[in-house]
Amino acid sequence: MILDEMLEKMALYGQREAMITDGESLSYESILEQYRLWTAILRDLGIRSGEVVMLEGDYSPAASGALLALLANGNVAIPLSPQAGHKREQFMSIAQANKYIAVTGTGYRMADRGPVEHPELLKDFLSAGGTGFILFTSGTTGVPKAILHDLSRFIGRYRSPRPALRTISFLLFDHIGGINTWFHTLFNGGTIICPSGRMPEEICALIERHRVELLPASPSFLNLLLMTGADQAYDLSSLKMITYGTEVMSDSTLERLHDRFPQVELRQTYGLSEMGILRAKSVHSGSAWLKIGGEGVETRIVNDVLHIRSQTAMIGYLNAPNPFDEEGWFNTQDVVLQDGEHIRIVGRKSEIINVGGRKVYPLEVEGVLLQMPEIRDVTVKGEANPLLGQVVTASVNVNVPLDARELKRRLTEFCRGKLEDFQIPVKVAVLEGELFSERYKKTR
């Protein structure tokens, strides 16, 4: 079994530093000790192979040991980060989980949900002896979708040895990017540095203190980092690479990032909860153009939308129709520009605004608005309009006190010559709260 291969590799890494949490350094052997401890705990709790178990915890030796033990025990695990604790019941209900385990600072809590009736796809998967895990989409526009992954299919991609760096586990434990960080780093003998908070100041302090080499983050976080200037008080010279994915990066943020960290390689990643993280190669550091591929991955573009066929794709949704066509292609809903073998992602199909038949890409407008000194952050989206179908609106965080009327006047003036008339926001709202979620992803 492929998990045995991972455990064997971890045993070979032995005393190498695997994880730093709360300032404490733990070796691969310590993580394996946790794995053995949790194997015994699962046995004592009567958790049988084929059961579906929600595991709530953040990156920690105990949560890592518990996840390894669940997968080795032949379970389907549902990782849940504490930040998503308010969705616990909803997620367990969708997947009809048998058990719930919370890894706490001092031990664990367990709850048995009694007899359950799993969704059909999950039932079939378990009947065939499947082991895997379930991730959920954010569900910002409806009920979250439960995504079932087969373990052996998913982690096949980590078998080829890759460089493993000292990596901050910035993306959450239940996010496809976070799961990818966890598998990739532990498979390859790297070190996971666990943050206790995810504000720019905390992340920068951690980079300095533990000589972090890789920061996987979202464009929203990187924008916040640049805006706060939190990096300037710390020595970030250990940083070799910043990877960004989960949402589209604006040109202006990318340029400012490149100016601020000229020595750091900026690499775009491409991943979807449904497909996992795919191999992506930027044209050069700081370029938004990239080539997506890798072993067992095929891409095609249909009507400007990227489609992917991958051997490591999910089994399917538990609570939504099968999204694959008869040939196994998955419509990513990401609209792309194409230049030879390279593509550039310009936005989700559903986010593109149609103003009287003309397309507006929120990212392009956001990129221009972010150049205004008055604007700290901005989210652009469409709003229904009886005259034009849709119009462009902007929700803005400001750097200086300004009312919406004055801001709109300045914004309209600023955008003239930089955007076409139909791209300039018709409505402008000044908001107090941040424009991104607890996962540092823009809320649209």
Partner: protein, 101 residues
């Protein structure tokens, strides 16, 4: 016609047109589309600004007269919409003062 309202409407109109404000004189019979060369996106912007300025909602399906054909019709329509708004209490803060005439 309400002179104070008209003055404010003219200011908002001129903010949303591309022509030189000095080259046009807006009177009761000014045709907003042909004389001011308003296009569809400018009309949408104009309505958004009016909604913001006067704290009203412009419902296109409710408009039965060609308000963009003559400034006078436009002004009368808006005066009616502003009248429909409930009076603001003296303790209320925000834009109420600017929205009342």
């Amino acid at each position: 016609m309400n002179a104070i309202l008209d003055e404010r409407l003219i200011q908002i109109l001129l903010r949303n047109v591309r022509i030189d404000p000095d080259s046009v004189e807006i009177g009761p019979h000014t045709d907003l589309i042909n004389d001011l060369a308003l296009d569809s996106i400018q009309i949408v912007n104009l309505f958004a600004d009016l909604e913001e300025e006067f704290d009203i909602t412009i419902d296109l399906s409710d408009i039965s007269v060609p308000i963009l054909g003559q400034f006078e019709l436009f002004s009368n329509y808006l005066a009616g919409e502003i009248q429909k708004q409930p009076p603001h209490s003296p303790n209320e803060t925000g834009r109420s003062e600017g929205a009342r005439l």
